[in-house]
């Protein structure tokens, strides 16, 4: 596989960059997310986290039973400030 193989398409994170991160001693999905930006784009990791876990397992950095996605951040999908401003939100009702 080429060094230019993309793992995270939103943030252009390549396989070579994942290996660079591992070589610096960062080995968990939370650390790799923060060091490379993987999973911080429009899909918020939905496309890439599974693939990242697979790579970590292949590299011996993660046991399959321990594979977990990083902390999910709301909203589930991108929402405009306008629609959030107009909505009567459940936890704001008296």
């Amino acid at each position: 596989m080429s060094d230019r193989s993309f793992v995270c398409r939103c943030e252009d994170v390549t396989l070579a960059e994942i290996d660079h991160t591992l070589a610096r001693g960062l080995a968990t999905v939370e650390e790799i997310k923060r060091y490379t930006g993987l999973g911080t784009g429009p899909c918020q990791g939905k496309e890439c986290v599974g693939l990242l876990c697979r790579i970590l397992i292949d590299r011996g950095a993660l046991r399959p039973a321990d594979a977990q996605p990083f902390t999910a951040r709301p909203p589930v999908e991108p929402v405009t400030f306008g629609s959030l401003a107009a909505a009567v939100l459940e936890d704001e009702q008296p």
Partner: protein, 402 residues
């Protein structure tokens, strides 16, 4: 340029010796900036940093990345002038891109009280030498054309203030500290600190123990637990703050904007995202003074209404992600730094009330000097942890945002 492949910056498997000269608990920006400067000033000191989770897991990885000189207290203005001056050469010094961008901070006053604060601050800043200037509504709009200014009474602007991307600061200090011999152990907590005849013994969650002549508590909002174990009573406590980022856009917003009345702040990061937070009334369940870092829909609704009123153009922008981080709140709004009451070998660097990240470049350097050769800088001694018991709280910094 990023560090060379393979350059370590601490790990869960970093071996620790039985004893060190200085043990720093907490590898946030404060602990790591201190470790880096201490290793430079006193290369013979054996220094270990112990972090309970991964780097940037705490407040250093969760803040909005703002750096400003615009404070209500002359000491804080001076300190931040030093910190921002230090940031200008820091990317080269740490050999990492910090995404530091000086687009200024624009403060907005929509009430008479807010107007008075900005006028008083601008006079203070002029005395200290910070280039803050007061702006009319039209002048503020010239800097941010999308701003709604119909009820704007006055604005203040300091062009030297700016934003950074917080994460690389932490990695840069970590890498350079490790390169200078600092032992950085991650994913290892300190469960107890026990006084010994010659310093302290740290019991680690890994089952190991570490002896240290001096210990620094750099755990911010988590500092209470370690202090309590030693019988040190300090009044700082955690407070939850939420923040969000939008989808990335082309650069359109130069300054970080703060609306004094609502506590709304927003800036555009160098990645292009709008990063925004706001003062949110505490939830009724008491969770806001805990360290539970959950996100709320209440925050999203509140900030969206305020932001779209102030910047109508944002109505069409999309929120990508929201998260939470803790402020380590001190009752007078000022930090808690120096030897602890009754424990001169147990040094605090806590209580920064939401502005520790921006102050760390200067505080790390000054505190390292204090620990290395005993030179206590007045910028730090005014933050004496003993001031609360002695009843010497003289004022409250009133430019706490978010």
């Amino acid at each position: 340029m990023s560090p060379k492949p393979g350059t370590p910056m601490g790990s869960a498997s970093q071996p620790l010796p039985p004893a060190v000269d200085v043990a720093i608990v907490g590898a946030g920006i404060m602990g790591l900036a201190l470790a880096y400067h201490l290793a430079r000033l006193a290369p013979r000191l054996k220094i270990a940093v112990v972090e309970r989770s991964y780097l940037v897991s705490g407040a250093s990885g969760r803040n909005g990345g703002g750096l400003r000189m615009q404070w209500g207290d002359a000491g804080n203005v001076r300190l931040m002038m030093e910190s921002i001056a230090e940031c200008r050469g820091l990317a080269q010094e740490l050999d990492i891109n910090l995404w530091f961008r000086q687009g200024g901070y624009l403060f907005l006053a929509r009430s008479e009280a807010g107007e008075r604060r900005l006028i008083r601050n601008a006079e203070l800043h002029a005395e200290v030498g910070a280039p803050t200037r007061l702006l009319s509504a039209a002048e503020a709009q010239a800097i941010v054309p999308q701003l709604a200014v119909d009820d704007l009474r006055l604005a203040s602007f300091n062009p030297d203030d700016g934003v950074v991307f917080p994460w690389p600061f932490v990695w840069g200090y970590a890498t350079q500290a490790v390169r200078r011999g600092v032992l950085l152990r991650t994913h290892t907590g300190v469960s107890r600190v026990e006084p010994r005849a010659d310093g302290y013994q740290l019991r680690l969650t890994s089952g190991e123990t570490l002896q240290a002549q001096r210990v620094v508590n750099a755990t911010g909002a988590w500092s209470h637990g370690l202090n309590r174990g030693l019988g040190i009573r300090l009044p700082n406590q955690p407070h939850r703050h939420e923040i969000l980022s939008s989808e990335p856009l082309k650069p359109f917003l130069d300054p970080l904007v703060v609306d004094l009345g609502s506590g709304l702040y927003f800036s555009q990061s160098t990645r292009g995202e709008l990063v925004a937070g706001i003062t949110l009334p505490d939830a009724a369940d008491g969770s806001d003074t805990s360290l539970t870092l959950h996100s709320s829909l209440r925050f999203l609704g509140h900030i969206s209404r305020t932001l779209t009123r102030l910047m109508p153009i944002t109505a069409a922008m999309k929120v990508l992600r929201q998260w939470t981080g803790p402020y380590d709140v001190s009752p007078d709004g000022d930090a808690i730094v120096g030897p602890s009451p009754g424990h001169p070998g147990f040094i605090q660097v806590c209580g920064f009330t939401g502005h520790g990240f921006m102050m760390a470049p200067a505080v790390g350097r000054l505190l390292a000097r204090w620990i290395a050769d005993g030179t206590a800088h007045p910028m730090l001694t005014r933050w004496d942890p003993g001031r609360f018991a002695a009843g010497q709280q003289s004022r409250r910094e009133d430019m706490i945002i978010g």
